[in-house]
């Protein structure tokens, strides 16, 4: 029995879940790096198991398992993506949304549910502006914003002239 260790009741308290979080973390760190503590940990486990009536055992099961695990690749937790990549994702999402909105806002569409064709049909433009309308009808249909529609209407009524 190691004299120094025999005065340290930390491992015993750790096994009983009676250490503070900080002390427990330090104790676990020490335990995983200290062979003598691991042996003592094992003995404490055996004592507890036997007192609780867990008599059945397989000699050196831990040694056999650990020997088998030597052939296994080391288990590593999946690496979490660094937080610095997240702003890039948000930027990409924002850019996609902006482009989508831009395409949607410049596409030809109908106002207030009234078919564009019926609006066009309701106008009886003077014969002298017909070639003008014919030449610019593509531009007229592309306009969807309210102020642009106003401009279109003024042109059709002839007041702009």
């Amino acid at each position: 029995m190691n004299a120094t260790y025999s005065e340290d009741d930390t491992l015993s308290a750790l096994l009983d879940g009676e250490l503070s979080d900080q002390s427990a973390r330090l104790a676990i760190l020490r335990l995983t790096g200290d062979r003598e503590q691991q042996v003592r940990f094992s003995e404490y486990c055996v004592i507890g198991d036997l007192l609780r009536g867990h008599r059945h055992d397989i000699p050196d099961l831990t040694g056999k398992v650990m020997a088998a695990l030597e052939l296994e690749p080391t288990v590593l937790a999946p690496v979490r993506k660094p937080a610095t990549r997240r702003p890039l994702l948000w930027l990409a999402a924002a850019a996609t949304a902006a482009i989508t909105w831009g395409l949607w806002s410049t596409a030809p569409r109908q106002e207030s549910g009234v078919p564009l064709a019926s609006l066009q049909a309701s106008f009886h433009a003077p014969s002298d502006v017909t070639p003008y309308l014919a030449a610019h009808q593509d531009y007229a249909q592309a306009v969807i914003a309210a102020q642009d529609m106003h401009f279109t209407r003024v042109s059709l009524s002839g007041e702009a002239q």
Binding site: M1, S12, E36, I47, L51, H56, L61, A77
Partner: protein, 199 residues
């Protein structure tokens, strides 16, 4: 830090590449797992194979362990599934034990273990160890024996033991530690620990 959180810390150590931390979890739970499996498996060779396979599967599956359940609850499920698969693959029957309830306090009735699963060698060693522990406990001063018994057999916290024994918590901690040390000193010649541990 609770027992469950300690297990989680050890799991984290394994995930960081420390295989010895897994050895500690095996040491902590092997007898409990063996006891569980002995209710399902008759053949000692099958029992050893399944016990080893259980821990190896657990090691491989550790990245998936999220800590939602206690480590032993998770291990329990792996052990039961491993036993079922192992026995089905070999066309062997499982012991008919009704209660496979998954909980942290899995304490099977000793009477359910219809036959001893130990080999003659392991049976001898188990008996020697059990006798040594019993003798060591009997030889303890009353206050140490009471403290370790209340802790290990009754599962009482230090605070509860302190109240029961009318002494400070620090005294309880010291008594339990001294009791363990005294018993461990009697086990040392039998277990021959330090040098023959491979892990």
């Amino acid at each position: 830090m609770s027992d469950r959180e300690i297990d989680l810390q050890l799991v984290e150590r394994v995930r960081e590449g420390d295989k010895r931390a897994f050895g500690l979890l095996v040491e902590k739970y092997r007898r409990k797992v063996i006891r569980l499996l002995s209710r399902m498996v008759r053949d000692p060779d099958d029992l050893e194979d399944i016990a080893q396979e259980t821990f190896i599967k657990a090691y491989r599956a550790l990245p998936k362990f999220r800590g939602d359940a206690a480590f032993y609850t998770w291990l329990y499920r792996i052990a039961v599934n491993t036993a079922k698969n192992h026995l089905v693959a070999r066309g062997k029957a499982m012991r008919t034990v009704s209660e496979y309830a998954v909980n942290d306090d899995d304490e099977p009735d000793e009477r359910l273990v219809a036959q001893d699963i130990n080999t003659p060698e392991s049976e001898l060693l188990s008996k020697q160890v059990a006798i040594a522990v019993n003798e060591a406990v009997d030889a303890l001063p009353e206050e140490l024996r009471q403290a370790i018994t209340l802790r290990e057999m009754e599962g009482m916290s230090y605070e509860e033991i302190a109240e029961y024994m009318s002494c400070p918590i620090g005294t309880v901690r010291s008594r339990i530690f001294r009791a363990r040390e005294a018993i461990a000193s009697k086990l040392l010649p039998i277990l021959g620990t330090a040098d023959n541990k491979r892990w």
